[in-house]
Amino acid sequence: MRGLMTKALATAALLALTMGAQAKETVVWWDFLGGGDGVRMKALLEKFNKENPDIEIQATTLEWGVPFYTKVQTSAAVGEGPDIMTYHLSRLPLGVSTGTLREITPDELKAAGIDAKNFTPANWEAAQVDGKQYAVPFDIHSVVLYYNKDLLKKSGLLGDDGLPKGLDGVENFNAALKKLKDDGVEVPLSTHTAAGDSQWRIFYSLLGQQDVPFLKDGKVLDGGDEQKAVDTLKEMASWVADGYTPANVEYPASIALFTSGKAAMHINGVWEVPTFTDLAKDGKLGFEWGAVRIPVLYNHPATWADSHSFAIPNNKGKEISPEKLKAVLTVIDWMNKNSLFWATAGHLPAYLPARDSEEFKTMQPNATYAVLADTAVFDPSSTIAGVASPIYEGMQNYFVPAVNGQLDPEEAVKSLKDELQGLIE
C-alpha cells in the first residue's frame, strides 16, 4: 500500500514536471567552443537558464572547424539543424552561398531590441551579405603574443612596465629570438606549426602589417603581392629552420610548451587567456605571464581578427516558428548584454556598452591588448575565406609543410594561389 502511494506520488510529480516543461520554449543550441572559453560559455548558459524560466537552452558543443561546419551545412539542408548556433563572421559569405543561414529581418531585430548602434559599423556589416543581416556579432577575437615575464627579463627583453621591449621590426624580433636561444631558453617562440589555421592567423597579420591584400577584385595575391607573400612565408619558415620554433607542433603541445615554462613566447588566440588565468590562479603556472598585441614586424600594427556571432540555420522544410524565433532572439540579446563575462574568456565583446564599460577597461590582460581592435584585419569577405574554408584547407595542405621546411615557400604560395584562383573563376 505504501509502495503504491509512493508510486502514485512520483507519477503525479513527473506529470507536473513535464507539464511545466511544455510551457517552456526550448532552444536547441550548437556551438564549437571547446577551448578555454568553453567553460565560460557553460557558465553563461547556466545563468541564462536560471534567469529565464520560460526558455530552456539545450546546448551541445561540437568539434571546432570542418566537423562543425560540415555538420551544420548538411543538417540545415535536411531541416535537422539547431535553432541557434555560433558562427564565425569570416565564414559568413561562404555559409550564405551554401544556403545554410536564415536571414534575420530588420523587423525581427527591432522587435527583439537588437540595435546596430550597439556594434561598430564594420563588425555589424560583416554579418551581412548583399545588405541582408544573417547573424548578430558576439565578440571580436584575435591572436596575441603571450610571454613569460621571467624568461624575457633574464634576456633583457622586458621593460620596467612589465611589457616586452625590442620586439618590433623583423631584425629586432629575430635578434630577440636569438638572444633567448643563446641564453638557454629551449623554445624562444612556440606556435602550432602543425596547424594551418594558426599559421593563417600569423601570416595574415604579417600581410596586414605590409598592407598586402590577400584577395583584391577577385584576384588572389595579384602581381607583386605574390612575392611579398613568399617573403613573409619565408620569414615564418626561418623561425623553424633556425631552431627558434619547434617543427610540427600540434595545438595542445604548443600550449604545453608555454605553460611548462619551456617557451618564452607563444602566439595563440585570446581564447586561451582563461587557460593561463586559471592556471596562474591555482598557482600551477610557476612564472609571471602577460599578453600583448602581436609585435609590429613590418610597417605598422595589424592583427588578424575574426568574430564569433550567433546565427539561425536555414532549416529546409522546417521554418522556425514565430515563438521559437522570439526565444532565439531573446537568447542572442541576453548573451550580448552579458558579454562582459564573456570577455573573461579573452575575447573583446562586440556589444559596445560592454566594451566601453569601466569594468572592461580595467580587465586584465584584455585591457593591454584591446588596442588591437583598432588595427584589426579581418579575413577577406569571400566564399573562399573563413574557418573551414578553401583558404584554411590550403593553409594546412601547403603552408604547414612550407613553414616546417618540407615545401619550398615559392611553390607553396603558387600552389595555394592557383587552387584558390581556380575556385573563384
Binding site: 548538411t74 578553401p390 584547407e393 594546412q396 595542405n397 609543410p401 618540407q406 607553396a412 587552387e419 575556385l423
Partner: protein, 289 residues
Amino acid sequence: MDRKQNLTALLFTGPFIVAYLVIFIYPTIQLVHLSFTDAPLIGPGAWIGFKNYIRLWNDGQMWKSTFNTFYFVLLTVIPTTIIGLALALMVNRLSGWFQSIILACFFLPYILPVSVVILIWQWVLDTQFGIAQPIISYFTGKPVAVFRDRYWAMPMVAFITIWWTNGFNLLLFIAGLRNISQDYYDAAALDGAGRFKQFVYITLPLIWPVTALVLTIQLILQLKIFDQVYLLTQGGPANATYVMVQYIYKQAFQLNKGGYAATVSLALFALIVVLSVLQYQVLRSRGQK
C-alpha cells in the same frame, strides 16, 4: 510445375532484387545523372552537359589524387598478400591451442575500428613521445613527424593499413592451406622433393585461387582508401596523400560541389570495375595454365 517453380524462385529472390534495385541501382543511376549537373551537396542542380567531365580531365589535383591512389595500391596490395601468405605458412605449422592464440593475435587488429587504429599509431609515432621514434631516429638521426612529411606520409599510411587488415588475409590463406591434402606432400617427400620444391610445386599452385581472390579483394578495397587518410593527414602535406575518395569528400563536403563530386566518384567506380575485372581475368588464366 515449371511456372510454380518460377514463382517460388521469384518469391525468394524478390526481396533481394527489390532491395538491390532501390539501394544500389537507383542511386547509381542518380549518380550518373548528378554528374551532368552543377548540383550542390544537397538539392538539385542545372544540366550542364559534359562540363564536369571536361573539368575532370583538366584537373591537376584530381590527377594527383589518382596517382596517389595508385601509389597507395602499389604499397599495400602485393605486400599485404605476401605477408598474409608468409604468416599463414608459419601459423599453419603450429598446432592446437598455441596456434589459436597466435592466430587470434594476428587477427586482433582487424576487429578494431579505424579510429582506434589511428589513435594507437598516432601515439606510437608521435614525434615527442612515440615509442617507435627511437627506431626511426636510428636511421634518420632525428625524430620524424611521419604524417607531416611528404615522403613518409603515404608509406606510413600504407604500413598502418597492412597492420590493420592483414589478419583477414591471413585467415583466408589458412583456410586455403588446410584444403591442401597432406597426401601430396607425403608423395612429394617420397620422391625426394625438399621443402622449397614442395612449396613451389604443390603449395603455390594449389593456393593460387585464394591468392587471386585476396589480390582482387585488396585491390578493390585499397582503391577506395579514405578513412585512414582523412583521420591522419587530410590529404596533406602538400597533396602527398590526397587520394580519390578524399578528393570526392573535399568537392562534396568542403566545396559544396555535389555534381563534380559525382563525376569524380564515377571515374573511381569505372576505374575499380575495369581494374578488378582485368586483374581477376589475368590471375585466373595464370592459375589455369
